[in-house]
């Protein structure tokens, strides 16, 4: 047994003894050693002195707003992560589509033949009577169209469309969205599979606010983004809206939460929030490509990118959120309300608008 090894074991034993990490038997052994070695006993006394001094060093603490800053950073980080996931998901689905394309074509032909037979025999007569095509909404979430287009006016508030036909499949685009404050449940497609409120009631035009920041604000107020149900057909509409410099966010929340979120947006110096009347009163209706409108549903009205620019008197800035909500909604702040937010994401718009110059002196609606 070498001397260095013995020294090392001795040091280990002393350290563990000092830190109270020895069993009773080993502890007794070290105590006997210390009785016969005053130098080592003195060493431990000095260690103890240093330890006590270290424990008495001033403690540092963070300010009261630290937790808030961390939560904001978490939301931002989660949001970016979720956005990336969304892109990846779409990409992967496209990959899968190409791999299984041959199989799909074959199955589709068989299914189409069967469906045609069934439709001819049973369904077509009933459809002519009820004109179901008018009852299926288009609802956007981050530039994606959820379902087949509708004709003008069919999504107007308080219309008589049966709710079951208006309800899109929804889920959380942004996984950082906090859970429902009432139920404590997470916001995800399994937790929420239908909208309980009416259709879109208000359309807002938002300028000078990056999409990511806007989504972060919505997320911080527990406002849900409605997203497609994954039907590949819906993806067709994603690109045209993005390239037009307009993103559409379809959101569902309570009056109270929307009020707080819009108030926060409005309070930021550069951000401009306006009430935006869609041409022809198409609140909640289709935003779609011309060829898509012509091919799939002649009755649906196309909204060109040009039309999505607020024009003078047609749009009104929300200068007093409380007052505006008093005008457009009832007093029940827990009521579910659905908004379509149109966000001008074009570079041109971001640099074109000096926000202060656009704000009227007093423009409360």
């Amino acid at each position: 047994m070498s001397e260095s090894w013995e020294n090392e074991q001795r040091e280990h034993a002393l350290t563990a003894y000092f830190d109270n990490e020895l069993g009773p038997e080993e502890r007794t052994h070290v105590e006997q050693l210390l009785e016969n070695n005053p130098d080592e006993a003195e060493l431990l006394r000095r260690w103890a002195e240093n330890r006590d001094t270290i424990r008495e060093l001033p403690r540092y603490s963070l300010d009261g707003g630290f937790a808030g800053r961390v939560m904001a950073a978490i939301e931002k980080s989660s949001h970016q992560h979720a956005s990336n996931e969304q892109v990846v998901t779409v990409t992967n689905r496209a990959g899968l589509d190409s791999e299984t394309n041959t199989w799909r074509i074959g199955l589709a032909v068989i299914a189409a033949l069967a469906a045609m037979l069934m439709l001819t025999l049973f369904v077509f007569p009933a459809m002519h009577e009820s004109n179901l095509a008018e009852h299926q909404p288009v609802i956007s979430g981050t530039g994606e169209v959820l379902g087949p287009e509708v004709s003008p006016g069919s999504m107007a508030p308080n219309n008589d469309v049966p709710s079951a036909k208006r309800q899109p499949v929804i889920g959380s685009l942004n996984r950082s969205l906090p859970g429902d404050k009432n139920t404590g449940r997470p916001v995800d497609p399994l937790a929420w599979n239908s909208i309980t409120g009416p259709s879109v009631e208000q359309v807002l035009w938002i300028e000078n606010k990056p999409l990511a920041e806007l989504e972060a604000i919505l997320a911080s107020h527990s406002i849900r983004l409605v997203v497609p149900d994954g039907d590949a057909q819906d993806q067709v509409h994603l690109v045209p809206q993005s390239t037009a410099g307009v993103e559409a966010l379809y959101v569902v929340s309570t009056v109270a939460r929307m009020k707080r979120a819009i108030s926060e947006m409005s309070s930021e110096s550069d951000c401009l929030v306006k009430v935006f009347p869609l041409p022809g009163g198409l609140a909640g209706s289709a935003i779609m490509l011309p060829e898509k409108a012509g091919r799939e549903n002649g009755a649906a009205q196309q909204i060109k990118p040009l039309d999505l620019t607020p024009k003078g008197e047609d749009s009104t800035e929300i200068a007093n959120v409380d007052k505006w909500f008093g005008l457009v909604a009832d007093d029940d702040e827990s009521r579910i309300i659905e908004f379509l937010l149109l966000i001008n994401t074009s570079q041109e718009a971001a640099t074109r608008v000096p926000a202060d110059s656009l704000k009227p002196a007093s423009s409360d609606r």
């Binding site: 002393l14 270290i54 540092y60 630290f66």
Partner: protein
């Protein structure tokens, strides 16, 4: 958005007995319901992100204090603690509960801090220190003589800690200041317990050597 978890938490802690008796506090705001980290973690994983705010409030100062000592910079320590909490949130589902949450969190923070330390090997003065690197200490003693002696010891130990290598300083902070046991230190530093023992011994020895050098310099 403004979060005031810490203030609410502290107030509720103070008045919890009365409030609970009166039935005015919902379960979500009841601090007694959040004593168990596992419960807080489970709620966060269930989608109640706000619950994570309680974990932040609970550990932010303790973690921050440790990081200030390791990094010798308040500003950097705050950045590290924030990064650590964000990372902990995103990786929360990987926390298995085999160790204390604070140990797991500290390990994340330590790794972030060490990455920073490796990027800058230059000495960064501790915020609040004067031109000699000395800190203002609060009153801490009963008599003026005792207080002066304590302050002198604190300054010397702080200076000796600064002179230590990052590794030696970190392990001393974990053991002496955080009072973590060998298992927790072993997990945070990702090293066997035998290495923890030997490194602690060397760190204490080096600290003692630095202290003696500082005292000799002051006396000469």
């Amino acid at each position: 958005m403004s979060w005031h978890f810490c203030e609410i938490f502290a107030e509720l802690r103070e008045f919890s007995g009365e409030l609970i008796r009166n039935g005015d506090v919902k379960t979500m705001n009841n601090p007694t319901a959040f004593q168990d980290d596992q419960d807080l973690i489970r709620r966060t994983l269930d989608g109640d992100n706000e619950t994570f705010g309680h974990l932040i409030c609970k550990y932010q100062d303790r973690l921050y204090n440790g990081m200030v000592q390791i990094l010798r910079s308040e500003a950097e320590a705050e950045d590290v603690v924030q990064d650590a909490f964000v990372l902990a949130f995103t990786k929360l589902s990987s926390f298995k509960g085999n160790s204390a949450f604070f140990t797991w969190l500290y390990r994340i923070a330590y790794n972030v801090a060490i990455t920073r330390l490796r990027r800058r090997r230059a000495t960064v003065p501790l915020d609040g220190a004067d031109e000699n690197g000395r800190l203002d200490f609060p009153d801490c003693g009963p008599s003026p003589d005792d207080r002066i002696q304590k302050q002198e010891q604190s300054v010397q130990v702080t200076e000796a800690l600064t002179r230590l290598s990052d590794e030696h300083r970190a392990i001393l902070i974990l053991r002496e200041m955080e009072e973590l046991d060998y298992d927790a230190i072993s997990e945070i530093l990702d090293m066997p317990i035998g290495t923890v023992r030997s490194r602690l011994h060397r760190a204490r020895t080096r600290l003692r050597e630095h202290l003696e050098a500082i005292m000799n310099m002051n006396n000469s």
